[in-house]
Symmetry: C2
């Protein structure tokens, strides 16, 4: 076994997890018992677990940037999000291309835990990296880039000679019933989804990417998000939204890889070749009327979602992952899951499958109303929005009981590009 | 050895540590070696360490709520902040008193990792707890309450018969040179500082305390904050602010308990008895002009702070904690640390010592300017603002080079009450 110094050098042990997780996942809690029961063999088994744990340390902090698909989509959701939409200001196709090249290099550096560019000795220029992430772990940082419909065509203008390459699926979302959209939280020529387990690492990434874009693109809107602090996957509960309910119980999962791949990734033949291996991202800024919700009875809350709050189980069931049984009725013939329950309308006929990857947001107090400015930055990935998000949202917009407690304030769609291999760059196929 | 419950009672083990530290401090890295070297005895020694570790696990997540002083002041800074200022709407002294009693009970529950009130079976009323922290660890949650000058006297009115009890030190801060204060980020009758390592745990706490206050007080303003994800104290680097510089290098520390106690806690005889054991909190919302800073050369950045960016050391020194040597000059007779450097003006004659406990904030993009809406929620605790924060800020406001890159947008002062013992409540002495 390498000694401790060597191990540190190898950076094997650089992960920040709660003490409880280590004790649990490493089986440390049972070490005394193991010794009693099976002597040295038991101890060695425990040591083996520790080795596994150790080896996981480094790789769990780093999500590879390069690959067939961009990271941050199939990636297990991190605790913090910074989503940024940008508008392109340059008129030069060449400069736009260079922006993607520079972004790719910077994102590869940052997701590997390095500062951007080379360490700087020259005091007479601004530093290449803004420095606030120095000394921090990369914390599973992923950076995912996308392009919006307006990059291809804005008010009838083909700005960069890309008009012929715009996928049919990449068009401004319809305005749904009850939408109360604000331009300040909608659309964008480009998007950057930054996720990690450290809010400061996220800020650093967005800030430096926006800085690199200077003269070529500017921030259009941005929103930070969070989920309850993550635990290892094995004993992770489904995170709760700000209404206190488990959210994303029904979700595409890499545990069912075929279904995941077919519903998330754009396939060859789906449209222009440059999007093969990419995925369409729909973003909806959904304000949650916290104070109204908090005056609602538990029964009404549960009837609204169609699930029990404590367990997340469908109404009338005990287990979170139990099937919905939408036809079930009580003795009086009333559906156990109400006709207007969120879960019933989201499910529909079960045809649409989305990769949901949402984050709660909280922006202090809304100055206009004196209420919490909080809600959900709903984010979902899919192969074909026209057959996935759009039909689901049409049903929800029409009759979802939850609409009494939420307002859709922002809307955007982006084509998240396929991944890049080392030596290539994100978006290369689009500009080829 | 005391058992786990006793240890927790003593609050001996309140630290959040990384996997690396556990492995280190538990000697897990050496477990194989121990078995080889000394057989079962060695293993038992390791197991003992693991038991200690296990016992520490639970208590490290919990910062005791009750005590001589409120938690969240001397507490090692957590990774996330939610600061809320409230205005009292009730005219009843009795209701105000009851608010503090209800807040105390709820805060004691939440900081212990429990939901507020009893588990609820009755579906015909709103749940006592809003639920979004269910299943999350308490993550070193602290909740700290304070009262502002306007609670005692607002526009000449003694609202709750407390006018005679207003401390001299608790008065609206002077308007400093260059202040560009916005009422939307200033003042407040009451404040709640919520800190933990989990942004969702923080949101839950503020939301539920504001909910409990319904009919008695309303949110006036709120701001979330963060620091780079914490590491154990032993190898913790000083966190960096959003200008990329280490911040709070010079700070009061419990490692020097006498100096800490004398400068942070209000002492008997300082003023009204109800504040003995409390501390005055100054909050300044400081916007940082990120884009301007990022166009500044490294030399100018370092000259502005008076420190090296990489190490945090004073200019001309190698070590972050080296003394400032303000008199030092270069060969040409120019001071090594410029006359207008932040560190020089903050230091002054070295008379004022503050407990700084600030957090970075990021609110997406400023709609008016298209720039990052980000900065520092500067927070400091002290015994006498008139002799601590105010003289420091007067110097800084006058000539700090950093003023070219920042704007003070919000300002508030609060008397953070002394702690409460179990059975008592925060603020009891004030209303007695």
């Amino acid at each position: 076994m390498p000694n401790e110094t060597e191990r540190e050098k190898e950076g094997l042990l650089e992960k920040n997890v709660s003490r409880r997780d280590i004790l649990k996942s490493a089986g440390i809690g049972g070490i005394g018992v193991l010794i009693g029961a099976s002597g040295l063999g038991g101890v060695m088994a425990a040591a083996d677990k520790l080795d596994t744990l150790k080896a996981r340390g480094k790789s769990e902090l780093t999500i590879p940037f390069y690959g067939k698909h961009q990271a941050g989509i199939a990636t297990q959701k991190q605790d913090h999000l910074y989503f940024a939409a940008l508008d392109v200001t340059t008129k030069s196709r060449q400069e736009l291309k260079e922006l993607f090249q520079e972004w790719t290099a910077a994102a590869a550096d940052m997701t590997a835990g390095a500062l951007i560019g080379k360490p700087q000795e020259n005091g007479y220029i601004p530093p290449a990296d803004t420095g606030e992430a120095a000394g921090l772990e990369q914390a599973r940082l992923t950076i995912t880039f996308g392009v919006g419909p307006t990059l291809f065509n804005k008010a009838g203008t083909d700005r960069f000679g890309l008009g012929g390459r715009q996928p049919k699926e990449l068009k401004k979302l319809p305005v749904f019933q009850l939408d109360a959209l604000d331009e300040a939280w909608s659309e964008g020529d480009l998007c950057i989804q930054v996720c990690s387990d450290d809010a400061q690492v996220n800020f650093h990434a967005v800030r430096n990417l926006v800085r690199i874009a200077r003269g070529k693109a500017v921030l259009r809107w941005g929103q930070e998000g969070f989920q309850g602090k993550g635990r290892p996957k094995a004993d992770r509960e489904t995170p709760r939204n700000l209404f206190g309910f488990k959210d994303e119980t029904v979700n595409l999962s890499m545990d069912r890889a075929k279904e995941f791949n077919e519903n998330v990734w754009v396939q060859s033949g789906d449209g222009p070749a440059w999007m093969t291996g990419g995925s369409y991202l729909v973003v909806r800024k959904i304000q949650m009327h916290i104070e109204v919700w908090d005056r609602t009875t538990l029964n009404d809350q549960e009837g609204t979602f169609g699930r029990h709050r404590a367990t997340g189980a469908p109404l009338g069931k005990k287990d979170e992952f139990a099937p919905l049984s939408l036809d079930r009725q009580d003795a009086a013939g009333t559906p156990v899951i109400p006709q207007t329950a969120h879960v019933r309308l989201a499910h529909g006929e079960g045809a649409e499958k989305l990769l949901r990857r949402s984050y709660s947001y909280s922006n202090g107090m809304s100055v206009n109303t004196g209420t919490f400015d909080a809600g959900l930055l709903f984010m979902c990935y899919q192969r074909k929005p026209s057959r996935q998000f759009i039909p689901v949202q049409k049903r929800l917009a029409k009759s979802d009981k939850l609409n009494e407690y939420i307002t859709h304030r922002g809307s955007a769609i982006f084509a998240c590009l396929p991944g890049a291999h080392k030596g290539s760059w994100i978006g290369e196929a689009l500009f080829r």
